[in-house]
């Protein structure tokens, strides 16, 4: 039911109530007034009649009493006249039944006007002669009242109709702009923006303007809200589908929310929540909020998990609530992979010993420390034959076996690395030339003993070892030292393999080795880069310019 209809009904109801009340009050007042008038008239009649009856009562002139009483009663509207003397005798007893009027019986019951009555004691000189009692006629009262009520009802009905029509017309006119506003508001609620034309109701120009502005603003806000809602939904979905645990704790550190991943993580790590709350409690003791990023290890069921925990305490705008948003990742695997990668970055995956790069780095560190040491370059003799003859799997196993054997022989203090293929590097730290030489000899002797039993075959190898002793005065980089040590290994190879060639860096032989190594490196590079070109040129005699012979040469 529309507001206008309700208002119409309310006003109509109020009007009806008012008119009915006025009608009733007027009728009641009219009835009371009529009753009072009749009472007054009755009293006057009674008084006059009593006065008139005094003389005949004193003179006991009953005929005159009758005559006077009849003269008063007959033409009047009285319904009864009773004169009782002091002995209780009715000197006059007149009654009449007035003809019933057209007044409905329900009307009479409603108003229930009692017939007025007047009693007068007739006394003269202190002596009571009689009691006079006259009763009026309520029928006439009802009739006059009914007439008045009927007339007033018609007037009231007419007034009600006129007022109702007026109210209806006024409301209709007055509510039209409001109805337009209402319709526009309802459409706006559904997301349909329809500005209202100000010309519809110039008197409501300002509210309509305000409404139009408001609806525009609301439409914009709704659009923003819907966008934000979509964003929120996306964010919520994203959080739900994250492969990271998102836990939101209230100010009191009770759980507010956790996404499925966090729940799953909690199943794996039952002490997850406890760990987080402990972290927060520790940190919150120092401040009201927390902004942490840390990694912590949690032990559970015999396994250790590393958790990456990011905590941000947020205070919601327009609210005193603080929430702690925790993003937790189990980075155990990641750590393991990282460690693995880190290891692989520094180790040879086949043999498990250091790789060339890491060895070079550590060698640089040792060199930078100024401490003495011995660098060994170990090359397995004829290793290619094993690969070619038995396959790379045997070769790999052999390398692993040799590496294990060398590591056992060298201990933790020395560095062992796989330089390439079948070449190893060894750094003996804090050792003298003599001790280093001895150790190297032991190694050399131990290598052939490192036999490999593989698929029913026993394999054994020898190695050629070159070594350079260096100290604080050796100003070479690791790369250069390795290169020079490589050259010494070649010396051992040239000397017949399965032997060692150790030099101190300051030894003069090292220069030749160094030069040879340099030329070796240059030629190797030129060959790799195809910078060696054969040239074939005639040789001319100087005297006659004839060709003496031809020579071919290689130019680099």
């Amino acid at each position: 039911m529309s507001l206008r209809t309700r208002l119409d009904l309310i006003v109509s109801g109020i009007l009806l109530l008012m008119l009915l009340s006025m009608l009733y009050l007027s009728s009641w007042r009219q009835s009371q007034q009529s009753l009072e008038e009749q009472r007054l008239a009755l009293t006057a009649t009674s008084t006059a009649l009593a006065k008139a009856l005094k003389t005949p009562l004193i003179t006991s002139d009953y005929a005159t009493i009758d005559t006077i009483s009849q003269e008063v009663f007959s033409p009047s509207d009285l319904s009864a006249l009773l004169l009782i003397d002091t002995r209780g005798r009715a000197l006059v007893d007149l009654h009449t039944t007035r003809a019933a009027t057209a007044v409905p019986s329900w009307f009479k019951r409603w108003f229930n006007i009692p017939a007025p009555e007047s009693r007068t004691e007739i006394a003269v000189g202190g002596l009571k002669y009689a009691d006079l009692s006259i009763m009026g006629n309520s029928e006439s009262l009802y009739l006059s009242l009914w007439t008045v009520v009927t007339q007033m009802s018609l007037i009231a009905l007419l007034a009600y109709a006129v007022l109702n029509i007026s109210v209806w017309w006024i409301l209709r006119r007055g509510f039209r702009p409001l109805e337009l506003l209402q319709q526009a508001a309802e459409k706006l609620a559904k997301g349909i923006r329809e500005p209202i034309d100000e010309k519809v109701a110039p008197e409501l120009r300002l509210p309509i303007q305000a409404f139009n502005q408001m609806s525009e603003e609301i439409a914009r806000l709704i659009s923003e809200l819907m966008e934000k809602q979509t964003d929120l939904q996306i964010s919520a979905q994203a959080i739900e589908s994250l492969n990271e645990g998102v836990i939101i704790l209230k100010r009191d550190l009770s759980l507010k929310y956790c996404n499925p991943f966090a729940a799953q993580l909690h199943e794996t790590i039952p002490s997850l929540l406890q760990t987080i709350t402990e972290i927060l409690e520790r940190h919150l003791g120092q401040s009201s909020g927390a902004n942490l990023h840390l990694a912590t290890d949690v032990s559970t069921a015999g396994s250790l998990h590393t958790l990456d925990i990011l905590i941000n305490s947020v205070n919601l705008p327009h609210s005193a609530d603080t929430y702690h948003v925790v993003v937790v990742r189990d980075i155990t695997e990641e750590r393991i992979q990282k460690a693995k990668l880190a290891w692989e970055a520094t180790h040879d995956t086949l043999t498990g010993i250091l790789n060339r790069l890491e060895f070079a780095r550590r060698l640089n560190e040792h060199i930078s420390s100024g401490q003495p040491g011995m660098l060994l370059f170990i090359d397995i003799d004829h290793f290619k034959r094993i690969n070619d003859s038995y396959g790379h799997s045997v070769g790999d196993q052999m390398l692993k076996h040799i590496a294990e054997g060398l590591q056992r022989k060298l201990g933790e203090d020395a560095l062992l690395a796989r330089f390439s293929g079948d070449e190893f590097l060894v750094l003996l730290k804090h050792i003298s030339l003599e001790d280093g030489t001895r150790l190297t000899e032991n190694l050399l002797a131990a290598i052939p003993a490192m036999k490999l039993l593989y698929h029913g075959h026993l394999f054994s190898v020898t190695a050629s070892v070159g070594g350079i002793y260096f100290d604080a005065d050796t100003h070479l980089s690791a790369e250069m030292l390795i290169s020079h040590t490589d050259a010494t290994m070649f010396e051992a190879k040239r000397a017949g393999r399965n032997r060692l060639a150790i030099f101190a860096h300051e030894m003069p032989e090292m220069e030749n080795i160094r030069v040879d190594q340099e030329w070796l490196d240059r030629l190797t590079s030129a060959l790799e880069q195809k910078r060696i070109f054969p040239y074939f040129q005639p040789i001319l005699r100087l005297d006659d310019d004839s060709i003496s012979h031809y020579e071919s040469l290689a130019r680099m």
Binding site: K54, I58, T59, S60, V124
Partner: protein
């Protein structure tokens, strides 16, 4: 023993019987229509009530609508007690004894008018009289007019108040009344009266009792009560409230002159007394 008991019971019941017998005595009291019936009742009802209390009897006012009616009732002997002097023109007077008379000044007749005039100026005028048998207001004044051979037109108004009412309305030129009723009427009706004639004094109107219906002892009792009103607290208060003088003693002989004047009057009028 039984006989003694009966005697005692009888003795105990005797006062009750006496009282009952006494209380049951009820007398009618006729009063001359000197005023309107109502005014008469307003005056005599309190008096009769007092009389009843003092004597133990019940006295009820009885009056006709007019003087003529009351005179007729008087002549018939309807009343046990009667206050009138018209009875002295009636044979029934023999059945009554005089008890007391009205107090105050002697009864006189007066002719009054609304303007000053001499008695002789009433010749040819209309004069209101209460009734043909009113002693002071008719017999005496008419007698005087006749004595002075003044011709006038009589008009019987029924009562003295009626005479004054006719005078005040200009229906008559003069009214013949007793002066006692002039002052109350003029005060009440704002009427100025001029006395044209006033006679000498005669005995006031008496209260008579029927000789047979009211025993002598009872009659004496009534006389005593009325004569001693001024000496009784209640009686004196009543006299004061009614503004009337106390009753005076009266005798049969006092009214001989009245009787004689009535006889002459009837004779002059050529009609026999009722």
């Amino acid at each position: 023993m039984a006989r003694l008991a009966h005697c005692i019971a009888l003795l105990l019941l005797l006062p009750g019987f006496s009282a009952a017998a006494e209380q049951q005595a009820s007398y009618s009291v006729g009063v001359l229509n000197q005023q309107s019936v109502i005014a008469t009742a307003e005056l005599w009802n309190p008096l009769l009530d007092y009389l009843g209390k003092k004597t133990g009897s019940k006295f009820t006012l009885a009056i006709g609508n007019t003087v003529q009616e009351t005179d007729s009732m008087t002549a018939r002997g309807d009343f046990d007690l009667v206050y009138t002097n018209h009875i002295f023109s009636m044979p029934i007077e023999r059945d009554y004894r005089v008890l007391v008379q009205w107090g105050g000044e002697a009864l006189a007749g007066a002719i009054v008018s609304t303007k000053p005039m001499r008695l002789t100026e009433l010749a040819g005028k209309t004069i209101a009289f209460p009734s043909p048998d009113a002693f002071a207001a008719t017999v005496i004044t008419w007698g005087q007019l006749a004595h002075e051979k003044i011709k006038f037109i009589p008009h019987y108004a029924g009562s003295q108040e009626g005479c004054l009412a006719a005078l005040s309305k200009g229906l008559v030129d003069a009214a013949s009344i007793t002066p006692r009723f002039a002052l109350p009427y003029t005060e009440k009706n704002h009427l100025t009266l001029h006395t044209v004639y006033q006679s000498g004094g005669f005995p006031q109107i008496p209260l008579l009792a029927h000789k047979k219906r009211i025993p002598a002892a009872q009659a004496q009792k009534i006389s005593d009560v009325l004569l001693n009103m001024s000496r009784d607290v209640e009686g004196s208060k009543l006299l004061e409230s009614l503004k009337i003088p106390p009753f005076k003693a009266a005798s049969e002989q006092s009214y001989d002159a009245v009787r004689m004047l009535y006889a002459d009057w009837h004779q002059s009028q050529g009609h026999n007394p009722q």
